[in-house]
Symmetry: C2
Subunit: 126 residues, 2 copies
């Protein structure tokens, strides 16, 4: 499966996991030794921490994530995705911003290997 | 030049550019069609926008950036760097966080091709 198709399918599985608040299903979207670099927190490594990270996001009200792929740079078994996202809680937009994900072909599936994003909204006045 | 050495040298040139507030020198650290994905703003594309982005950062008081490479994933002419950063204004720490940079070998130098980061500090209460 080519990278662009694999990333599209991976993102569809991710959207479904968020919509169904399936935190237990999130590690399967990532490689075994994946790292997530979330804003305003420390790096998250591996299946257990990734599941806990998404469980917390769902407990905090995230009900939908809409990643949009703008670019895929193919590098053999790896591919870098650059894109945008919107995160919602019900009908409320919680955040929108930019994503950068290194995907890795793993057992026929493309999985997230290094995953980061940041908001495009201004910082709240502190 | 191997990727790890090239990234080290690229980061040294970046530190020098920040320390000397050399915004005009920043585009040379990036590929011609580079994209920067800064937090709390829109994506920045190409030499002119990149120079303006860093000029604004220096005008806003950034006097030093300390990137630290934690990991390099080599992919031929490309390499992904994951790391950490500290940004200072004089002796004050303005921010610290995580970086993810796709580097590309370009004319013998390793240059930043897709560059993003986010803070590890908590969001200010809005």
């Amino acid at each position: 499966m080519d990278a662009t198709t694999g990333i599209h399918e991976g993102n569809e599985r991710f959207r479904t996991a968020v919509r169904t608040a399936d935190s237990a299903g999130t590690p399967a979207l990532y490689t075994r030794d994946a790292t997530v670099l979330p804003p305003n927190g420390d790096a998250v490594h591996g299946a257990e921490e990734i599941e806990r990270f998404w469980a917390t996001a769902f407990e905090n009200g995230v009900t939908e994530a809409r990643p949009v792929t703008l670019e895929v740079i193919e590098m053999g078994e790896y591919a870098l995705e650059v894109g945008e996202y919107t995160v919602l809680s019900g009908d409320d937009i919680l955040d929108r911003g930019k994503i950068m994900v290194l995907w890795h072909r793993d057992d026929g599936f493309w999985k997230m290997h290094r995953d980061t994003w940041n908001s495009s909204l201004p910082l709240p006045a502190g």
